[in-house]
Point group: C2
Chain length 527, copies 2
């Protein structure tokens, strides 16, 4: 049963007077439940509870945090069909996608559970004392990661489960030992509340302090602003538009105590089609990219919005096949009216740009809120001269830049903004001869792909989901994979601290049997 209320800690609450509904883009009708936006007093209470909960949550053992994370996963599984149905009603996405994303979300939670249960992630580092060192004795110093404090997580519209309420940001923050306050995404408030209830139940079962989690409804920007400005909030996670992410970053930077904002934002994910690959495999790649561009109506951060090739018959063939193939694909429903509205308006703005030509598009009427894919081309020199052409069109849109030569292609890459991914489609033999292009691309991205598509972000330790600005606000961190925990922690040193009062991670006996750096040597031994 969805109540439409906020979770202020473990209490359902609706003191505010702003209400809204979610929307079913498939039927083009509002869903039934009325949601009440969190009021300033509820926001204040949620943050105070989080700050109070932090005092105990930060000292909770890895094993207990692991239980909590696994219990959240269990509770999400227990939500069963109601979660899947609500997800579909609020997003227009098919059931298979909902089930797949639920699986990903649960996998993320269990990955972090395993990480903190094992415990070595704190990077315990010990330099033992040398009382007889000359000219001055060396003191005993021991370091480990500790949590930052309450974290605010903004739900992402395009991943109602995996990057929202109990998504990667939340799972990483809990694993770190940080309480989480979620600013729920208004377009999937019901999905959000269900997942929030799972977290609240899990917190109860795992005996976590009240306030370790709150879920705040919000239809506008005010709730998020109040949260980011609150002195007790110590970090922010966001996935969404450049405009939204930058606004939060600016707000956080202007605080009297600035706090870190990790915002994963837009990207056009450039794909470079090198000449031999265009010649030998152009048709094959064109077919694959027709699918990648339209996957999920193009509503992925890693959607390939920009393809760069060298002008000629082989690139012309690639464009022709891609154009022929992409119109064969049935358009699908986009997430909500704002998204389709932005897609249509950004597409229209792009098509007004001088020199941009459409080579394929769906022009017939489609169901309301369905995203009609389009492929465009432009000359390299035109692209270079007009930065408007470099912007993301979120949706099933792609642009092929026909470069004069390799030098121009490299120049274009070097002028691009930061990107989540870059892809090289090439024969093995041409990689060595195009090292300048690869180096330039590497400089602009967080992940580089050889002969593949950028869509599909594997959840694993080696993944980097992030990149130079504006792909993210801080390229030194990833949003996906176990290392995303590093966003929410800081290193902390104990000097000459009595062994019995040290955290278990740093005690001589190494009771957790974790891997530590002791006097320069990686070891799980005791001291």
């Amino acid at each position: 049963m969805i109540s439409g209320k906020n979770y202020i800690g473990n209490v359902l609450s609706s003191l505010g007077n702003i209400t809204y509904k979610t929307f079913n883009p498939q039927t083009n009708l509002e869903n039934e439940v009325i949601y009440t936006e969190a009021s300033p007093i509820e926001i204040q209470t949620a943050v105070e509870l989080a700050a109070k909960a932090f005092k105990t949550f930060k000292t909770v053992s890895g094993v207990k945090k692991s239980d909590f994370l696994n219990e959240i996963a269990n509770e999400i599984e227990n939500l069963g069909d109601e979660l899947i149905k609500t997800y579909c009603l609020e997003t227009g996405l098919p059931e298979a996608r909902a089930i797949g994303e639920r699986g990903r979300t649960i996998f993320q939670l269990r990955s972090f559970a395993n990480l903190v249960k094992e415990g070595s992630w704190v990077e315990a580092t010990i330099d033992t004392a040398q009382p007889n060192r000359e000219p001055i004795p060396k003191v005993d110093i021991r370091k480990m990661y500790i949590p930052l404090g309450p974290v605010v997580v903004f739900g992402a519209s395009n991943f109602p489960l995996a990057y929202s309420t109990a998504g990667g940001d939340t799972a990483a923050a809990f694993a770190a030992g940080c309480p989480v306050i979620v600013k729920s995404h208004p377009m999937h408030a019901g999905t959000g509340e269900l997942v929030a209830s799972a977290i609240i139940n899990a917190a109860f079962t795992a005996e976590m302090p009240n306030g370790v989690f709150s879920n705040l409804n919000s239809s506008g920007i005010e709730v998020g602003q109040l949260l980011v400005k609150h002195p007790e909030v110590k970090a922010v996670g966001f996935t969404g538009s450049i405009r939204g992410g930058r606004a939060l970053y600016d707000l956080a930077s202007k605080r009297s105590e600035p706090i870190p904002v990790f915002a994963e934002m837009g990207s056009v994910n450039p794909v470079v089609l090198l000449p031999k690959a265009a010649k030998n495999k152009g048709t094959e790649w064109a077919k694959k990219y027709a699918n990648s561009i339209t996957l999920g109506s193009g509503q992925f951060c890693t959607n390939p919005g920009l393809i760069l090739g060298i002008k000629g018959v082989n690139l012309a063939n690639f464009i022709q096949v891609l154009s022929e193939e992409i119109v064969k694909i049935e358009p699908t429903c986009m997430l909500h009216p704002n998204i389709i509205g932005a897609y249509e308006s950004n597409k229209a703005k792009m098509l007004e740009q001088k020199g941009l030509e459409t080579t394929a598009s769906i022009n017939n009427e489609v169901s309301k809120n369905y995203g009609r894919q389009i492929v465009t081309t432009v000359e390299g020199v035109t692209f270079l001269e007009n930065v408007n052409l470099h912007q993301e069109v979120f949706g099933p849109f792609s642009m092929i830049v026909q470069c004069e030569n390799v030098d121009q292609l490299e120049e274009i890459i070097s002028k691009l903004e930061g990107q989540l991914t870059g892809t090289i489609l090439a024969e093995n033999t041409e990689l060595a001869t195009h090292s300048n292009i690869i180096n330039s691309l590497q400089n602009r991205v967080g992940r580089i792909i050889f002969n593949g598509v950028p869509t599909g972000v594997e959840v694993c330790a080696a993944m980097v989901h992030g990149g130079p600005y504006p792909a993210s606000t801080d390229s030194r961190f990833t949003a996906v994979g176990i290392n995303s925990i590093k966003r929410w922690v800081r290193p902390f040193s104990f000097q000459s601290w009595p062994n019995e009062l040290l955290p278990n991670e740093l005690k001589n006996e190494n009771p957790l049997k974790i891997l530590r750096l002791v006097d320069g040597e990686q070891t799980a031994k005791s001291i």
Copy 2:
């Protein structure tokens, strides 16, 4: 021979028309050499050279970077007496301090040389492909740290060697693979130029690209501002005042592409004297703290500026002994007229605050530019009510807060701004009974010390020199120790990349024999 010119890459240059001299605070006279501030064209050239150098420097092997760092250390040693003499002439500090700081600087350079020679610091992480995984195959993903790009380092006035030209920030940035542009500190421009020449020589010997290092003279704030705003600059390191660090942070945050600024700023380094320690060892601690407060004229980031105790006879005894002991210590010369000017004016402002009493001070005439130590006391309630009393007075100043009880002491700690260090002076038996105080203190600091003094920052892997704002602008990093390299790198993923074209760190064969995380297991084995 000091030229007074800038190093724009490896070229000595003085195109600007703003000149200045350094100052000998011992003689109260200007030194002879005339320095020319870097002009906008020189700044532009230095950054362009750095951006160009980055293209090759970022691919230089760990072994070659290690050679470069060791060669810098050698060249600094080769500077011999001229460096020590120049240092003393520009700082008023004694020769022993100069020699000690040179040793520390060389140690830092060699530590980073060892780190990158060994190579495991890149945290190579490999998730191998699972082509038969259901429902979709798993791709091969490999991650490692790569450098951010050109880094600007601001020299610190209080550490002309260890935190300046070839200090910790520069050594860490070189180790990471980032070119460095130093904004030289005007008050030790000669020391800076000598060390810069050592780096330039080392870069030549180790065959590093021109532009890997530049040294820019500057007497005002304009050179630093132009550097931080330059689009090709990708990160900033700073050690100094809150006002200076915050200004750079704000400038960097407002860029169209914001960049990370690691500023290590002010701190009062609270020391908590618990009751039993005050009773049993108050006299002993008072003597030690008289030395710690006056060490180097109090010109250390970790100087104990605030001592908190519970009102009573034992605290009164501590204050009395500290007051008696501290006036026995001969005042020493401060770094330069600006520092002594700020010390005297901040001290005067502090003494105007209601309720602050002086218990010991040097009132007789001392040599010009010598810092006269002072100990003050205040009631807990007065301290709580007046945030002006929480501010740092950089110099040999300390304030003892006489708290009514343990609760008030804890409240005071919880209201303090972020700090580099916090110290607990206690009998072992009282730690467990004062866990609230310790937890509160831990929340406010980067390093917590048991029964010691905060001055003296050991250069080792377990050290955290940093902390919650305003101790630093990002508590997630340390400025000291090998992990300070993390400030200047970002993780980067290769997906399905051909083995022979991967960096050595990620190749199947593991030619560097580094420790890697392969499919979840820490190993140095090949794949």
